[in-house]
């Protein structure tokens, strides 16, 4: 069963990656092009030669973007499948499509939304090449902190269920998550490297486009994975077997 869920996650991720590519190409690329145009004009104003193109813009925005989107989404889908396999029947007794949507929602909040509030996506020409080490380290550290906070909050929420009831326990867990991530992010290095004169509206549009791209990815992942798993479970139950490969059942 673990193998099926991992492969299903990767397959759903692959489909999501194609949609992500189409969306990023349509919404994101115009902003990338504008940012690169700004970078070129700044280089020209300073009298510097523009950076030599190692890979042409056409390939970067075409095959390169497709590769990046598909590989990233497929890999994320695989991890999603593994997490789903663990969470099914453990995290919650919900139906597959509800659990899948829940994991996608929580994953988006912990992996994308929270880290991007402190370290938002940056278009080309924003960012000092010399600080790439600090920026990369801080970014991945914040993702790790955010994920650990999510796990802690979920564990706390389960313990608080008995004394406070499910609704209040969920609220308290959410509050704990916000506090843990908020306080951690507050003490992490501030990174503000937007060059003078960079159009504010372009920065806004790029960051919104980046968010939207991630929303598309996580939505397709959560909804399609849940629908496929639910359909397969229904088919397996109709044919008399609860699950094709798993013989272990738990009655909750």
């Amino acid at each position: 069963m673990a193998r099926t869920l991992l492969l299903r996650g990767m397959l759903v991720g692959l489909v999501a990656g194609l949609i992500v590519f189409a969306f990023a190409r349509w919404i994101g690329e115009p902003q990338v092009d504008r940012a690169i145009a700004f970078e070129t004009s700044m280089d020209q104003a300073k009298g510097e030669a523009p950076e030599p193109e190692m890979v042409s813009r056409k390939i970067q925005s075409g095959l390169g973007l497709l590769t990046g989107a598909v590989v990233y989404s497929t890999a994320l889908g695989g991890i999603f499948g593994i997490v789903f396999a663990f969470a099914r029947g453990r995290l919650s007794a919900a139906r597959p499509r509800a659990l899948s949507a829940l994991i996608a929602g929580l994953g988006f909040i912990a992996i994308v939304l929270v880290p991007s509030l402190k370290y938002p996506a940056n278009p080309p020409s924003v960012g000092n090449p010399e600080t790439i080490g600090v920026r990369t380290g801080a970014y991945f550290l914040l993702i790790a902190i955010s994920l650990m906070s999510l796990i802690l909050a979920i564990k706390a929420g389960r313990r608080l269920k008995k004394p406070f009831g499910p609704w209040n326990a969920s609220l308290l867990a959410a509050l704990l998550f916000v506090l843990l991530t908020g306080i951690s992010a507050h003490f992490m290095p501030v990174i503000d490297e937007v060059p003078a004169g960079f159009p504010a509206s372009l920065l806004w549009k790029f960051r919104i486009a980046s968010w939207e791209t991630q929303v598309v990815l996580w939505s397709v992942l959560g909804l399609l994975f849940g629908a496929l798993t639910e359909r397969q479970e229904a088919a397996a139950q109709q044919s008399g077997r609860a699950f094709p490969t798993s013989d272990e059942m738990r009655y909750s």
């Binding site: 069963m1 673990a2 193998r3 869920l5 991992l6 990023a24 994101g28 190692m54 890979v55 390939i59 925005s61 095959l63 390169g64 973007l65 590769t67 990046g68 989107a69 590989v71 990233y72 890999a75 994320l76 695989g78 991890i79 593994i82 396999a85 099914r88 029947g89 453990r90 007794a93 919900a94 139906r95 994308v112 991007s116 370290y119 938002p120 996506a121 940056n122 278009p123 080309p124 960012g127 790439i132 080490g133 990369t136 380290g137 970014y139 499910p166 790029f206 486009a209 980046s210 791209t213 991630q214 479970e233 609860a242 699950f243 798993s246 272990e248 059942m249 738990r250 009655y251 909750s252």
Partner: protein, 72 residues
């Protein structure tokens, strides 16, 4: 969903649980491979380089920016 809200003790619904000993090898090797793939899209030839040069970075450049990874 309504079943789980109503209370997990009362409703005798069978939920297939993947045993940990079955899940662990897939999680370990699958997870590592997936993280390696994400590393190549998101961070290779940025702060750290496994492969010499800038080709990987330049090739996935647009995806890296739009997916929110630090770049350059």
């Amino acid at each position: 969903m309504s079943q789980s809200v109503a209370g997990s003790i009362a409703s005798p619904v069978s939920i297939p649980v993947v045993p940990l000993r079955e899940l662990l090898p897939w999680a370990l090797f699958g997870g590592l491979l997936m993280l390696l793939l994400i590393y190549f899209v998101g961070a290779e030839q940025g702060a750290t380089s496994l492969i010499h040069g800038r080709a990987v970075h330049e090739f996935v450049h647009d995806g890296r920016h739009l997916l929110g990874f630090p770049c350059h």
